[in-house]
Amino acid sequence: MNRALLIARRDLTDFARGGRLYWAGGLILVLVATSLVVGWQRQRESRAERTRAQALDYGDWIRQPERHPHDAAHQGMHVFKPEPALSIVDPGIVPFVGSTLWLGAHRQTEVKFRPAQDATGLQRFGSLSPAWAAQILGPLLVILLGFSAFSAEREHGTLRQMLSLGVSRSQLLWGKALALGGGLGLVLVPAGLLAGIAVIVAAEPSARGDAFSRLLGLAAGYGAYLGIFIFLSLGVSALASSSRLALVSLLAFWIVVALVAPRSVADVSRSLDPSPSREAFNAALDADLGAATQRASLERFGVRDAFGPGVPLSRWGLALKVHDHAGYGVMDRHFDALWESYARQQRMQEWTGFLLPTIGIRAFSMGVAGTDFAEHRAFSLAAERQRRVMQDIISQDLVDHADGRKEEHFSYRASRALWARVPPFQHQPAAAGAALARNLRSLGMLTLGLLLSATLAALAVSRRRLW
């Protein structure tokens, strides 16, 4: 048998008989299983609730009585973000950005109903999900299994014994890496299979292929992520003068990378490339909207205020249309700038992924799961398009039917047929291939991290004083 496999088999026997694998791995399995059950239940309820609410809300829109269309536009409608099947595995930023948008007249709106607004910091940290378990506890399990891989063998003298038999350093490294990977696999493969089954069952039949591709992508990402910790643990174990030092060093790294860095790197990226505050954003948007609408009004009607006495009621519908269209570009520019600043901060964080792999895998995982900021932005844009469709239909109807009534403009009542011309909201999240392509940077950073940690481990075991 290949020597690396022999070493791996022996180490696995050691894990099994030593009990570390059962205790630590069992705990993680229980956590993952619990989070899957909770996630599945939450997703099921949330999907049912959203589908019901979406139907109810659109029904309310359709069933509006005959009324002035602009009143209907002010009633507006709600749109609900579809919950991706993989949110069971990684809910991503969904709990923090909300899932419902109100589409009303004149103004693009932000997402409403943010559960995180009511959550304490501790709850945010511990929002249990399989992704959280794999991102935070997975490395901890690797460290607990691997910190003594070389150091304990050196302390006991078995490393010297193996090397005296002509085992090469690379065979030792690969054997140890295989054992760690195998031990981890004993815990994470069943957990991953459970998660995969839950996702496939939760996905719409037509979306199962897409969900499966995403699961494969996640498996690759998490493989690279945990591989980094495997080689890092082996490298540190080979370099450290004692098992205790190896454990302390690795735990310190874990605390920094998994617990401290995600928050502090986000803070740093925000301070390097700040986004405007809500107040500043709204003030700037209002100012530019005001200027743009005044300009458009001046061009079209010769007065600054399209809704003042200078514009007769016979042109009120047209004034609305001009006003709305003047605002579209301004809103696009402001929201794009805001979202771009978030995206730049996100990219800045992603670049650190090779040194701070938890940041890399977090971005990759939620990106592939379809619960990231890019998906949220796509939903917001789709919602805004829907709002403009609704607004344009209504304004045009006013131009066609109400403006002709001159002073009797507001006596116009549109029939239900008009409400039905606004289509129900449809939003199709990006396909698996697009989601993967969008997150290649994070995957690249993780791969780079894996290469770096493997190089570190190879250098560490090639030291003559390894024994």
């Binding site: 048998m1 020597r3 022999l6 070493i7 022996r10 026997t13 050691d14 008989r17 030593g18 006991h156 003298g157 078995t158 010297r160 014994q161 193996m162 090397l163 005296s164 038999l165 002509g166 085992v167 090469s168 003559r464 024994w467």
Partner: protein
């Protein structure tokens, strides 16, 4: 089979070995005597490739250990003062692991038990975890590993230190069997009695130098003792 040619090893300012030259031929049991710190273990470490010589060459079966660290180990087995095994594995599991690691070939249970019996390990102990083994039992497993490897050379670092007289005697008999079958054996020891009785040649090391080298057949135990003490006090 085992050759050190004008080998020196320095650790900073400290010269642990100073131009040591020795050869151990097949069928020879060479006992290296010397006080603690004389350089005996350093020489064994050079043969195992755990250290690189500062000058000179160390060869096993003609292969330069520094240049061919893996190939040179094909023919050699190492038994330290404390044979270290995996406590969670049984005797037979340990032997299987190290034997397969050494040979790269699958070992049957029957063959492993035969080896353990050959080195005198109680068959009832073969399936017990090694954590319960005495030092003597572990040394026997160490010899069994060397036998499984069919090593043509053995490097032993104070292998009988701490063994009770009966176990030391059993161990010596195993070494004698290996020697008489043509294995070249280099062992470090403080035990003059063991060196005289088992060795075919002895070398005395002092402060990194090989100060004397003679055949055991040429001298009595008393001669060896007085020669050793004479060198140590000089």
């Amino acid at each position: 089979m085992l050759e050190a040619v004008r080998v020196s090893k320095a650790f900073g300012e400290v010269r642990a070995l100073d131009e040591v030259t020795l050869t151990v031929a097949p069928g020879e049991l060479y006992c290296l005597l010397g006080a603690n710190g004389a350089g005996k273990t350093t020489l064994v470490n050079l043969f195992l490739g755990f250290l690189a010589p500062t000058a000179g060459e160390v060869r096993i079966a003609g292969q330069d250990v520094a240049r061919h660290p893996l190939e040179s180990k094909r023919d050699v087995a190492y038994i330290p003062e404390q044979v270290v095994l995996y406590g969670v594995l049984t005797g037979v599991e340990n032997l299987r692991f190290f034997a397969e690691l050494a040979t790269g070939e699958r070992q049957t249970r029957a063959r492993l038990l035969e080896l353990l019996t050959e080195v005198g390990l109680d068959p009832r102990a073969a399936d017990q975890r090694v954590a319960t083994y005495s030092k003597g039992m572990r040394q026997k497993v160490g010899i069994a590993i060397a036998f499984a490897k069919q090593a043509r050379a053995l490097l032993l670092d104070e292998p009988t230190s701490g063994l009770d007289p009966h176990a030391a005697n059993e161990f010596s008999q195993l070494l004698e069997r290996a020697r008489s079958s043509g294995v070249a054996i280099l062992t470090t020891t403080h035990d003059l009695f063991h060196a005289k009785r088992s060795g075919t040649r002895v070398g005395i090391m002092k402060r990194g130098r090989l100060v004397a080298e003679l055949a055991t057949s040429e001298l009595s135990h008393a001669d060896l003792e007085s020669l050793y003490l004479q060198h140590m006090s000089a």
